[in-house]
Each structure stands twice: as structure tokens, then as C-alpha cells.
Symmetry: C2
């Protein structure tokens, strides 16, 4: 643990990367570590890369970040003699290298992986993550988030809390918030102690404003939510919602955006399984099956779909018979135990 | 601090009370303390009282509570020689005595008040809370909740975590959740350290199920939410929703239930002030004005209403002219800075 911290703090050049389709933990841990190295490390150059989704660009700690202003596309030469730290990314193909690919890691001096996702082992007991051979790994699947790991790794070094600046605390706090659904799941006593240490000594407003920002939605999203609540149908412990192309066209809503609200159906009391059916532009239907506990992916597989036991999906290509099939799946889900 | 704990743990008879219109912190701290005394105190009799709202009766830690099963209406004689602990209740008139009133406190041996609400002082420097003269007070307005105070008071005594049973931890955890809006506001480093101590040693499922339960709504509430999202109108940074008797009758929704969703309007990005107008059965209009920061109670006062700077209300008695007045208030709120 201390070895990794020293490797990072003493490196002359540090690049911090994370996964594609970034979420708050990916960016929070990346910005947090980069800022830690800038403030406490010996590196003359600290670089970050990766696309930031527009919704995250608006979050308070990222919105005014000096790091996001200094962002640029990395080139191959940036990787020369660099210590590359890759965060929150279980397999190498999910690293956001910008226009580059993982072959640039050959130019790096060292590659360090820090992550909380589980990774399978191959027959030689090596992690099946396709990282370069000499990668130094710090993996802790008991942590809520990579931001929690980064906080813990550096807590020793920043025992004097005045050494940890507000931006660092805010970045890491946001990452923990993101991966725990605002302290709803994946929590542990360590999560709460870590947060206590992160926020100590600062004005609580600097953190409650992040909480508030993560609870707000755009007016458009609010209207979509309202539509889902209004249209959902409940049979006993099963909820379903069927949203046709006509419905979506009427409001000019993209099918993808609507599908994001699938878990809204699970927030209604007594609902233990639910399905959302959304018709795509090509008139195919995307069906999402969810449950709190019972297995639903066997039902998905029955119709050519698949996924996780409690979160799976089916794609029905455009066909005049689809509404009959949807009714059939619905009935099977209702009677499923 | 230790004195209060000893007073409670050594008392031969303990009654734990809290405020009317109970919320999760009132019940969480009450049940938590009562269970602590049962498990660790010397009392032969531990009594609680107060009405529990039906929505809270369904929450996991209260639903299966052995305490709720033993509840009964207290009589005057119950108070004889009792140590009465009153939690989370700033002034005596808000204590839930059931069918009794505060005069029964004359029969008590001791009255102890534990609370996190601020109380003004009279000209003699005495708290203006109308509690009996010899009340022993423990007040800490820096605590998120009374449940946080109870946790901290007893942490010393239960340093060996195995002494704190799961129900106690769950009760107090639920109270903290309630008064912080699931760790959204009123938080401090102490809040998070307290939670870490409460949940340590237990299965996290016993707490995440409470998180989940506090995020769910009934189908009826979900439909009401959907209706609010759908009907809300946004002008720049101001949102408004006007719900007539006709609208409510159509869905058979009580005006009171709808008014609970006023803060939903504040969760839309960019909204800094909002108003909800709901028509009561007697055709009067109840208007709620809210803001994130700017003062709105001056506008409320202009129309005979009042309240807090950022949360105030107006009542317009039935009158054919009311829609004009509502439009007027709406315009004033929009242009307010």
C-alpha cells in the first residue's frame, strides 16, 4: 500500500487514466489522484485524459475544476518515461486513451492499476484483465469505489488534514457518492469513516451542494419520469410499462433516454419484478427485465435475450406480432416466482 | 454527558417520549433509547408512548419491532416514580403524551430532555421550552438528529460493539437517515463516524434494506409525483404548479397528500424558486412558496401569509377572484430576486 503511494508521489511524470463511459467514481478518483500528485507529489508533469459526459461536466466539483481546463488529447510521446496510473477499470480494453490505444503503454515506465472491480484469474492464477505484464496492481473489491481506495491510500500521508485540499476531498466524495447511489448500497463502516475524514475541516456546504446537484434532473428528465409513473401498470408485485414509437415521437424523446428510467418502476412499494418495453426507431422493441431478487434472465433467454440474473434484456426485431409476444412475456413475468 | 447516561441506565422505571406528528428521528431515537435501557439499564419497566404514522409503521426496523408490539396508552400512575426522557421535542406542548397532558410530569421522579433543536432563552437565560423547572437538559444543536446524540451518548458505554444489538443500531440509523434526508443535508464528520460505528459488525443488508424502503413510494404517491412532474410549468428559474379541486377530484387525491410534493419542483435543474397552489375542499387555495436561497416570506406576507424566509405559505379563502391573485403572485415570484 505504502509502496504504491510512493511510486506515484515520487514519479517524475504521472498520467492518470480511467474507463470509457465515465461515471462519477471514474472521474472523481482520476481528478482526486491527479490533484493529490500535483499538490503532494514530485512530478513535474501530471496529465489526465478521457471524455467527460456532459451531465458530469455540470457537477459542482468538476464544473469549476482546474483539471478539466487543462485537459488535452494525449500523444504517444506523452507516455515516454511516464508512470501511468489506471483507475476503476477492470480490463484494459475499457481504458479511455482518447485517440490512442493500449499499445502506448509500451512506452510507459510503469503501469499501476488501482480498482475495486472483481477480476477473474486465469489457469496460472494471473488476473484476466489484459493489462501489461509488469503492471503493479492494487485491487480491493471490498471498497465501495475506487475513490474510497484512493482516499484510504493517501490518508496516512495526509494525516495532517490541512494537507488535503478542498478540491481533492470534493472529487473523492463525489466518486463515493456515485458508486454507492448516495450511500444507498455497497456501503461499509469504512465508507462512512472515509467520508468523515474527507469532509472534516471544510464547510459542509461544499459537500451538500454536490448532494443537491446529484439529486436534480433536467426538466425534460422530470417530464419523462412523470410519464413513466403515469403509464406504469401494476399487477400484484409486478410492474410494466410499454412505450411505443408513437408515444416517444409525440414528446420527441429518444428511446435510449427513456430506457434509463427502468429502475423507477422498482421504487414503488410492493414491486419485486418489473419490465420496461421501449420501441426503437427501427420499430424493434427493447425489453428490460428487472427484479429485486428472483431470477429473470432465464425468461430473457427464452426469447433470445440474456444478462444478469436480476437485470436482463430482450431485443425483438420489428415484427407485426411483437405486441402479442410482449403480452406473453408480461404474463410469464407476473406468474414467475 | 456521562451523568445523563447514568441517570437513565440506573433508573428503576423509564418512560421514553417524543414529539407529535412523529418522523423517523423521533421514533428512531425513542425506540433506540428504550431498547438500550432494556438491554443495558437497570429499569424493571421501560415504557414508550405516542402515535406512529402508518407510513413509518411499515419501515423495516419499526415494522418488526418488539417495542411497537408492547405499545399501550400510558396512564397517570405509570408516571409515578418514573424517569421520563423526552426526545427530539423542543417545547413541551409538542410532546406526544397520548390521551394525557404535560401535567402528568408532576408525578415523575425526573424529567430529562435530549434534543438537537435550537431553543430561545428568556431574559433570565432560561430555555423558553416550558419544560418543568427541574428538567435535566442535554441539547446539542450541532448534531444532525437526536438519534445521532443518543448514539454518541452511549458510544462510551458500548465501546465493545457486541453490546449494541442490531435493533438499536437500526433504530438510530433510521433516525439519522430521516433527519439528514439520507445524508443529503445537516451532515458533519461526526454524522458519518457515528454511522460507521452503528453499522460496524453487522450485515450491511440490514441497513441497505432501510435505505431502499425509505426510497420507495406507494403506487398512489408515484402517480401523484408523475402528475406533478407533468403539470409543472417553468419560467426561467421559477417553477409553478396549480392543482384545482377538479383535478384532485378526478383522481380522488386529498389536497394534503398533494401538498407534500412541493419540494419535487425544486429538484429540477436551474429552478431556484417555486410555488405550489392546491385547492382545498372548501375551495380555498393553499399556496406554498419555496426557494433555494432568496427570501420569499415577504411575498407571502403581502398576501396575509408568512413562514420561514425560504419556505412560506399563503391561504386564500374561497373567492371567485382567486385565479387572478394566483397569477399575480406567480408573476411577482418570477420577477423576484
Amino acid at each position: 500500500m505504502e509502496k504504491i503511494v510512493n511510486e506515484i508521489l515520487k514519479a517524475p511524470k504521472v498520467i492518470v487514466l480511467r474507463h470509457i463511459m465515465a461515471d462519477p467514481d471514474a472521474i472523481g478518483s482520476q481528478y482526486g489522484l491527479a490533484q493529490l500528485v500535483i499538490e503532494q507529489g514530485q512530478a513535474k508533469q501530471v496529465l489526465i485524459a478521457g471524455d467527460v459526459p456532459s451531465t458530469l461536466k455540470e457537477l459542482p466539483p468538476f464544473r469549476n475544476s482546474s483539471l478539466s481546463l487543462s485537459e488535452k488529447l494525449l500523444t504517444e510521446s506523452d507516455f515516454e518515461k511516464a508512470t501511468v496510473v489506471i483507475l476503476d477499470t477492470s480490463t484494459i480494453n475499457r481504458v479511455d486513451f482518447g485517440p490512442l490505444d493500449f499499445s502506448v503503454l509500451n512506452k510507459a515506465q510503469k503501469v499501476i492499476k488501482i480498482d475495486h472491480h472483481p477480476v477473474g484469474l486465469d489457469t496460472h492464477g494471473q488476473p484476466k484483465d489484459n493489462y501489461p505484464k509488469h503492471t503493479i496492481r492494487y485491487q480491493d473489491t471490498s471498497a465501495s469505489s475506487t475513490s474510497e481506495i484512493i482516499s484510504n491510500l493517501f490518508e496516512v500521508n495526509t494525516y495532517d488534514i490541512s494537507l488535503m485540499s478542498l478540491p481533492i476531498s470534493q472529487y473523492l466524495y463525489t466518486g463515493i457518492l456515485g458508486d454507492t447511489g448516495k450511500f444507498s448500497y455497497a456501503i461499509s463502516p469504512r465508507t462512512f469513516n472515509t467520508v468523515a475524514n474527507l469532509i472534516r475541516g471544510f464547510d459542509m456546504k461544499d459537500f451538500t451542494e454536490i448532494n443537491h446537484a446529484m439529486s436534480t434532473t433536467t426538466l425534460e428528465e422530470a417530464k419523462m419520469k412523470g410519464y413513466c409513473y403515469d403509464k406504469m401498470v401494476v399487477d400484484d408485485d409486478t410492474a410494466n410499462i410499454i412505450i411505443s414509437r408513437e408515444d416517444l415521437n409525440k414528446h420527441n424523446w429518444p428511446a435510449d433516454d427513456m430506457a434509463r428510467f427502468v429502475n423507477l418502476l422498482g421504487t414503488v412499494q410492493g414491486i419485486t419484478k418489473w419490465m420496461m418495453c421501449v420501441q426503437e426507431e427501427d420499430l424493434s422493441w427493447r425489453i428490460s427485465l428487472r427484479s429485486t431478487e428472483i431470477i429473470v434472465n432465464d425468461l430473457a433467454e427464452e426469447y433470445g435475450g440474456g444478462g444478469h440474473p436480476t437485470a436482463s434484456g430482450i431485443l425483438l426485431p420489428a415484427n407485426s406480432n411483437n405486441m402479442t409476444i410482449i403480452q406473453e412475456i408480461k404474463e410469464k413475468l407476473i406468474s414467475k416466482q
